[in-house]
Symmetry: C2
């Protein structure tokens, strides 16, 4: 089956690789050509010089780029994905973007008899590399049924949440939960340090009970050591929280904690931590 993949960043590069390794005939496009060449030399497959050319003849077109604007740039225009799709093509957007964009793209695709799914992922770079991503999908059931077996190349779990946009909204719920968990964990470790506790021993104990979280199990040890040069970057988290806070304004929900954590991440960025993992919230507390 011919598929294409647009955007070979830290996520897209290994995701497209899994598709090629799983027997799909993959054509990739990336803005910086050298990255596409490096992908081809690692996995084989084909390279296109425009999103349009990549999409031509593909049954499914995946994309995974930076933000709403980046998505629009590769989708629209004479060299965009939509210029290359045929009736029946299914476009699957793995970018974490707004629900509004998802609904807009679904309409634009429908106007060309193409299908669309918003399909943001969680699991980070490690999940993309190991093919263990979780995918939250918005769109129609028949389209999901077509995409799921292909996405299995890099997903541990994919789930249709509801109509167009609901994949993005589910991803926002994910990020809101993480904001609370990481800030709570950061305050606890800050408190423990100030109180002179052996925080590693405390975490060992409390991770067995009601304070347990994935973040505690996977990030507390590196937070205690002050290691942040890995994982999911603060810059990306701020992008995601901006989408969530913007959506909250529209749907009338009040997210006091999420807004506060977003401001703390702004402070981490200011102090040079934009590329650090989200667990670097603890450094904000060290600033006083």
């Amino acid at each position: 089956m011919k598929v294409s993949f647009i955007g070979l960043g830290v996520m897209g590069f290994p995701m497209a690789g899994h598709l090629q390794s799983n027997g799909f005939d993959v054509c990739v496009y990336n803005r910086t050509t050298s990255k596409a060449e490096s992908w081809q030399s690692q996995y084989g497959g084909r390279i296109a010089t425009t999103p349009c050319a990549a999409a031509e003849g593909a049954e499914l077109v995946f994309l995974c780029v930076g933000n709403d604007d980046d998505v629009r740039q590769v989708v629209y225009g004479e060299s965009g994905i939509l210029a290359g799709t045929s009736a029946g093509t299914l476009v699957v957007d793995h970018t974490t973007a707004s629900a509004e964009l998802a609904r807009e793209l679904a309409e634009a695709c429908a106007a060309q008899q193409a299908g669309f799914l918003d399909a943001p992922v969680s699991g980070g770079q490690a999940g993309a590399e190991n093919g263990q991503l979780t995918i939250m999908v918005g769109g129609e059931e028949a389209d999901f049924a077509r995409a799921q077996p292909v996405m299995d190349a890099y997903a541990r779990h994919s789930q249709l949440i509801g109509g167009h946009g609901s994949g993005q909204l589910a991803k926002m719920m994910n990020q809101i939960c993480i904001a609370g968990i990481v800030q709570g964990l950061a305050e606890a470790l800050h408190f423990g340090e100030q109180a002179g506790l052996d925080c590693g021993t405390v975490i060992d104990v409390i991770s067995k009970g009601a304070a347990q979280s994935w973040q505690m199990e996977n990030r507390a040890a590196t937070m205690i050591k002050g290691e942040y040069e890995f994982g999911f970057a603060v810059d990306w988290m701020r992008k995601d929280l901006a989408i969530a806070l913007d959506e909250a304004r529209k749907n009338g929900s009040t997210l006091a904690l999420t807004a506060l954590v977003d401001q703390y991440y702004a402070d981490v960025q200011k102090s040079g931590g934009g590329r650090w993992d989200t667990s670097s919230l603890l450094t904000r507390l060290h600033q006083g």
Copy 2:
């Protein structure tokens, strides 16, 4: 081995029961005598009419009461625990209380050649009933070695954290983590409801990734249904957060999220939810 247990609340009642069922010769004291009688009719054992009388002849004296003041009331005075201890008695306080009280009690016990451990628990009423509590202990290693095999009657895991008071400080770290996790989860569910999502489906998916937490796995479903008549009460959580915030003032840590969540819990109390589970934070968001 003769042991005594002071305080037969929702935690102490089953904890003392596990001791008796595990072959210890238990003497209990409770302020309201009828509860002690009900305990005896269920488990056997002995009843004392004062904490002092309960402590007499016991190798270990456990207590689990409400707050710092309640602890002082059963420990000091002519009918208090310390009036009944001998040289070598070990007093173990399972109350969640201040680290300052723990250090004060350690001194008062030492003045009578008795040992002391602060040993707050986590795991809630269900953990106490199933004998699956987690216990965070502050004190001396030799005292911990004496107490641990006895506490095994109701603990899945107990751990010495450090000197006197460090058990309480570890418990505060636990509660700070929970404050962040529950508020994040509440905001996510509030957001999802406002956005019209099937929140149960979203939780199923995101609980497989970096947003996972014990709270999500054990409380999201009841939060979605609006069920809060169980679990760990808001009134108790506020007591614990007050201890943490007070300690933070002393040790110079800044806990913005914890302070905010404490205020939200005050609103839940005002709306009549003092006995509701901590997951009832979501109702605060429904208030707008």
